[in-house]
Symmetry: C2
Subunit: 160 residues, 2 copies
């Protein structure tokens, strides 16, 4: 299933359940939002998101805690969870999905290229998923978007 | 020049002048952020952005005024200017660029598909540019991203 088809399927799943979704992106930098907003009629389910590329934006806009950044780093499960929870609150969405990780070309916080965390926040709670994604910078960003859509779809299906 | 090359050129222009950039997107839904963050080393110039797909997000997060929405609509020069100015403040960036318009498939606020406004905010002030973009939904979104990058590059070059 290609990315656009996956996004359309998520849109349908959300629409059926009358749920809205928001995004909080670091390494994908807007690519996940572009997919979520790409389906015609997307405004019925996608409310928007934050691209928190800089650490300061993660903290000030999304409410990622200073302790999280200091202790676990921004490439961490805890940061992914706080980004998703923060976006859900800020955007007043039912569900939010976040991405943080190392797209390369160089490692970050001592974590190798391809280390990725996806957070999902919903009425049922918040979770984070660790991924190891292969490929160059563009491939890692694209694969992360597809994985994030799949994870939201799975959680929405499981919860309702 | 393709989109990625244009984004790389803007990154270089900003880096040379020690300027940072932020984004505020409606119809492009994250595609502009994906381009701004796509260049390796992008974190040196791109701080992040807001995808304000829903009108409420434009108002609550970016500070677009209720009068603007009521009088001019969200597909307007005034809305584009307020989105750019709001993103510049929220993201604490030197420059911000915004997109709002009608990607289709149907008209919006009585404005035809392809009506687009790009806002640019910098230390030199705020401006909006009206565009009429041809094509289907995906083409309009993609062309708007390229036009937005070109407009920021032009304004950065002109100002410094």
């Amino acid at each position: 299933m290609d990315d656009a088809t996956l996004a359309a399927r998520l849109h349908e799943a959300l629409l059926t359940r009358r749920l809205t979704v928001a995004s909080a992106e670091s390494l994908t930098g807007g690519g996940l939002g572009a997919l979520l907003s790409g389906t015609p009629g997307a405004s019925e389910t996608y409310v928007g998101g934050v691209i928190s590329y800089a650490t300061g934006v993660k903290q000030r806009v999304l409410g990622v805690r200073a302790e999280t950044v200091a202790e676990d780093g921004v490439v961490s499960a805890r940061c992914a969870e706080e980004m998703a929870a923060g976006a859900r609150d800020l955007m007043r969405a039912d569900v939010a999905v976040s991405t943080t990780g190392v797209a390369g070309p160089t490692e970050q916080e001592g974590k190798p290229v391809g280390t990725v965390f996806v957070g999902v926040a919903g009425p049922w709670g918040v979770s984070a998923h660790a991924l190891h994604v292969d490929g160059d910078r563009a491939t890692i960003r694209r694969s992360t978007c597809a994985e994030a859509l799949s994870l939201v779809l799975f959680e929405v299906d499981a919860a309702h």
